[in-house]
Symmetry: D2
Subunit: 160 residues, 4 copies
């Protein structure tokens, strides 16, 4: 199923390297030796999680259906326009963000507000609906950052 | 939008009185004077919340699309069969359950496991897909119970 | 740190076997071959998680301080009496419950309401304060059940 | 109890005006007419919520006990140093952030990372422990921002 998720992300304009680039930007200040390869393999590890796969499939389905006008109203307009009070996208992303614990929460919120890199492209796309996808990608990047933080910390404090 | 939500719930087989009946069953032990009218008006109050409305619309859309075969695979089968590891329905319901604070969480989990009244009917329906709806209804009932608990407690301890 | 957590649980009256017994009761209907050894090793695996360890330490500290009267008022009374509207214990437990995804949520709520085995003993203890501990233990048991469900399902559907 | 919470916040160095200033900064771009008075009264409204009051009392208690060395080890050091993998502070703040729905989540994460105004002061304090307090204050500011967004949007779209 992971392959399907990666293919769907790609079809919607998101390559794993673009997510890895956000992870790198987030974690570099704390970890100057972090390589792009580690960032990418960590994104891959997040996508191994069943919970993450399911959530991405649901979010992309809703975006696509809204784009095609195949959701009933008023939902179609709400998703299509990413109405400011619509919070279902954040709820879904929370399920991803938390797979490596709540320390991912801060990075998720930051990314969702500042929207670096691919997140800005998704958000500004002239025709495609990315109401869910930008939050999902921010969630994956935040979870990957949390995973890197866990690994670094564990190595540096073996005594606990 | 609340009217649309109530109509959609009804189309999917859920009348507000059936939700109120669950609330009554949950809260009666703690509050013997609780009337069906109060339970119903509390369910109505939960449905006033924008967050709740959005979440119900999304969940019902996903159930209906899975039922009609209009979700892509593998998502269509996952939702259609309510695969045991699928947790997106619980995540969505959590957004409803928490509108009156985390004390709704316990009741949500209990209802989702024991499945009294309308929840059992939804879960055992021979042809309709209710993967999301049973969790959403449990979430509304749990939130309504939390609201009643808040109101009772506030009256009984005005000094705090 | 895991050893410290296990020792503190024991000092507060909770042996890992008592948690494993709840897991066994929850999962037996779906998995008749489940052994006590697997339940116990799964509880151990949940306690390997840093997030779980931290949360248990915080919850036990708050219970103990309330018991000794070392929290300031009004918090000391609120925790000491497990006031019905106090939901911080459920929030903390949520951080444990979710370590293997949101499918743990349902079991957590069920356990927190029905309070089987050790949970009932904790809740009815005549002198000790277990406001946080019963939720934390329910959270660990729910997370362990989720982990078992994940493992069973993965084995039975290798094709996905 | 709200008075006690406001007094404790003040004792720990947080005046409501400092929280209102963060809210103003967050919401001004979307709402140029927003006055300091509205920001302050919205912060007050967030503090009316029982859930918020309880959570703040718990967080401040833990900070204070860590500061005084009255938590047992290893928890005292973990809280005292705000160890990078410690996520209990974020979990608690989540309970506050969500009182007006999940749209508060993004602002919480942003504030927790960028740490404007009083958040930076708390975080950089040379002697006091603010491991929980900075997250709690960010949570209150994020919830207040969500409440303002809800109110603005409702006024501007009465038709839904």
């Amino acid at each position: 199923m992971k392959d399907i998720v990666i293919r769907k992300l790609s079809e919607r304009g998101v390559e794993l390297m673009a997510i890895a680039a956000i992870v790198s930007e987030l974690q570099k200040p704390y970890n100057p030796d972090l390589t792009p390869e580690v960032c990418l393999s960590t994104v891959q590890a997040v996508l191994d999680k069943r919970e993450v796969q399911h959530t991405i499939l649901v979010g992309i389905a809703l975006d696509t259906l809204a784009e095609q006008g195949h959701l009933q109203e008023p939902l179609c307009s709400i998703v299509g326009e990413d109405e400011p009070l619509f919070g279902v996208d954040e709820i879904l992303a929370l399920g991803i963000t938390n797979v490596y614990g709540t320390i991912g929460l801060t990075n998720f919120g930051y990314l969702d507000k500042v929207k670096p890199g691919i997140l800005r492209e998704l958000n500004n796309h002239p025709t495609m609906v990315h109401t869910f996808l930008d939050d999902l990608v921010a969630g994956v990047a935040a979870a990957a950052s949390a995973r890197i933080a866990h690994n670094i910390f564990r190595k540096s404090s073996p005594q606990r």
